[in-house]
Amino acid sequence: MTEPKLRIRGLGKTFHSDKRTVEALRGIDLDIALNEFVCLVGASGCGKSTLLSIVAGLQDHTVGEMAIDGDPILGPGLDRGVVFQSYTLLPWLTAQQNVEFALRAAGKDSAACRAIAREHLELVKLENFAGHYPAELSGGMKQRVAIARALSYRPKMLLMDEPFGALDALTRQQMQSLLTQIWEEHKLTVLFVTHDVEEAVFLADRIAVMAPSPGRIVQQFDVGLGRPRHEDLMETPEFMQMQRQVHRAILDAARPQAGAEA
């Protein structure tokens, strides 16, 4: 068996506040293979964003282990590119400069920064907006710049925390198509958090369903839909069938008594 790109074993997270302790995550085991696209879904409060944030190194975990290519994750790093739900474009920099900002942090010289940033803006089809400031871009465009930025320094995997959650339905669909297209052409390892089942089925190779209190993975689905995927896939019976199954699993997982079993 080949080594997975990302390997999570027995991961748990407990929050301590003055009054009480909350177990946010318990016994998370998850492997993501090279160039696999995995979506984490679940009802709100199930800890899926917390899990992603821990993988990003932005939060500590209480127990368990994580490794990328066998190297333990000990904090944030350039081997993981993160796309946040809030666009996190720096408002005083142009689209181009926002991408260059990351490249400079990754230690590239300025000529390389310019060229690579340009190339990645082309990848997200924003080459004509390189000189625009974030305030002059729509939400979808901002998120495309953020994706270009996260990809630009060639991380080993991409972590996306509900990146399209703040977009309107039409833009969201366009973004999903664009992301799928980029993924299919360039091959990336992706962990993608969403509460939108349709989005998960459309994007993912595999879907992990999480249950709340404590947050844990209760079921996984292999999305056996072929590629390349286009928007009309969403109308096929196979797609809807898969969507129903995942949806059912989320609802089952979110039932209160399900918490007793773990």
Partner: protein, 267 residues
Amino acid sequence: MNTPRRRPQSRIGQPISRRSYLATSILVFVAIGLVWFVLTTSGIVSPIFLPSPGKVVSQLWTLALNGTLWDDLVASLYRIFVGFLIATAAAIPIGLMIGNFARWEAAIEPLVDFIRYMPVTAFVPLTILWTGTGDMQKFTIIFIGTFFQQVLMVMDNVKRVPRDFIGLGRTLDLSDMQILRRIVLPSAMPGIWDTVRITLGWSWTWLVLAELVAATSGLGYRITVSQRYFQTGTIIGYILLLGFLGLIADQVMKALGKRLFRQDTQH
């Protein structure tokens, strides 16, 4: 039978044209000037309490011609420049630190909050004891009056920087100091600029206060001297001048801020 009429629209929050805005503002100034003029020229109010507008202007003109006004202005501007600069230069880095690091906040925030509630006026006698009546004492009063407010306001500006911006910096493997310098500070800068602009207005008050109590030059000093000799015209002229200087400083800062932070303000 009359057809039902549309109810009048609410005027809350409704804009008016730029012209009518300007006209209204000017009208108020003119009206107050007119009341002043009528009150003083009709003899209702004695000139010892309130001289006529013409008298005030001619008084200012005389002082401008003989250089007094210029000397006073230079003395005061110098004091405010130095005092305010020291306060701001200290407040921005310290505010940045307490806005980001809990240990710094615990060490400084409660202390600053405590000092902030001590009336600046009460420090005047003390600062005279400490530093005499020269420029140093003016710097000190301006510093006490502005620094402690600025620190807390800058801290607030810094805390408004979105958490995810800091997350971004961390995922890019930047050190804490790099995050502060490259992300937090530029991100908070429009807010900090506003803080500087607002506190600059306050610092005029502290300057004049210090000059009223003990000084041998400056706008506040001239006001005290004029009171001694019943030169009400000079007092009023100087007060108007101070208001005018404050207004100009504020407008300049505002215009500069708009230019500097164009990208951040338009949404």
